[in-house]
Symmetry: C2
Subunit: 232 residues, 2 copies
């Protein structure tokens, strides 16, 4: 089993209303069944028009948007706000992002990023005749580790978490807990070929275990409900 991961180059600047699946299919004519297509949140938000103007003269402009996008503020330190979003994500600045967008604008998270993934998946089936999985990725921090990694904020056509509980390990003993969040590992793997500054908005992971394909959702499977949470 060998995985291949490669960037999809040549996607033009995305604008509100653009057919993102069509742009991806045109930029990557070699898409195949059982590929996993990872698309960054930024272009999904742009295509969906999830952008707001910020007043460049108002130093609180960005912060006001972050507060509006937060359902709950967990921590503040200096300019940094860690908050919970309407999706249940806990992240910095409610996912509101100023990089790689036009001056005076901020990109919000897609309203429902699992639905965004399903739309792109349906679009790729219609445009390119392929049955792929789609992951919408974003860049999040972690409370106890420095540095950011890309994780999945939405998915379609792939199980978000693969449950290996109860499977025997190599010594025939039952594994204790091994629910692997494969969509997060796939999103992070795709980031390795994207590069922040290069304007690459999507990547393909080829060779993923066929048994992982199927119905999946980040919101229902991965977002930890507050009652399970030990650290909110």
């Amino acid at each position: 089993m060998t995985l291949e991961i490669f960037p999809i180059g040549g996607i033009p600047e995305v604008r509100a209303g653009d057919d993102l699946a069509g742009l991806i299919a045109a930029a990557c004519p070699d898409l195949r069944d059982l590929d996993v297509v990872v698309v960054t949140q930024k272009v999904v938000s742009k295509a969906e028009g999830a952008m707001v103007r910020i007043d460049a003269e108002d130093p609180r402009g960005h912060k006001a948007i972050v507060e509006r996008e937060s359902t709950r503020i967990l921590r503040r330190r200096g300019d940094l706000i860690i908050s919970e979003t309407s999706h249940g994500f806990v992240c910095a600045n409610a996912g509101v992002d100023l990089s790689n967008v036009d001056e005076g604008w901020a990109a919000l998270l897609p309203e429902d990023s699992d639905r965004s993934a399903r739309r792109i998946r349906d679009g790729l089936r219609a445009r390119a005749g392929v049955e792929v999985a789609v992951i919408v990725s974003d860049t999040f921090g972690r409370p106890w580790r420095r540095g950011l990694t890309d994780i999945a904020i939405g998915c379609a056509g792939i199980r978000a978490i693969v449950d290996l509980r109860g499977t025997e390990d190599s010594r025939g003993r039952e594994l204790q807990v091994t629910e692997v969040c494969v969509v997060d590992e796939l999103a992070g793997a795709a980031e390795l070929v994207m590069g922040k500054a290069a304007g690459i908005a999507a990547a393909v992971v080829r060779g993923v275990e066929p048994a992982w394909f199927g119905r999946g959702e980040v919101r229902a499977e991965v977002v930890r409900p507050p009652q399970e949470d030990l650290f909110r």
Copy 2:
């Protein structure tokens, strides 16, 4: 730029004192310069003899070891202990693991997993004449997301975090913060080809950006010092 990720099969059962680099080099004769070799904590701990006996009759046996391996307990819920280890890692059960080990034994984390990575890297240079990077990986949970992912607990020959702060984004604006923890993304990517039950203890990531190779350490770069921590 295409990444290739493949498992290293055929590493025999590892015992204390085994030459892990030698076993890896023998199992993967095609190793090349600038490959990233990801090795799971379990076999590193076994080779280093970081194993302790637990009393199978004592239901508190495992918990007592977890408490001994913890420098600080953060949360308890039922059988789960979230604690900080001597390395500064915050994880479940102090990283003490009962799966894929002999009955009556538990695997502890390596004493210094960056040093473990350096030793394997030095060993691969000596055995196979290659300049690779090495990552020691382990499986951790996340406070706000269900499911586990593999992350790096040690590395050698690769920068743990690649700092893209100050690099211009695709619109010529300075990026705000983009310090990517590439060793965690590489560890997670490698997990995708390993599979918990298959007894695969190592994988190769080939095609990684050459500029990322160099001095790196998980402990110094990735572990967030308590004074920066908003959630401990």
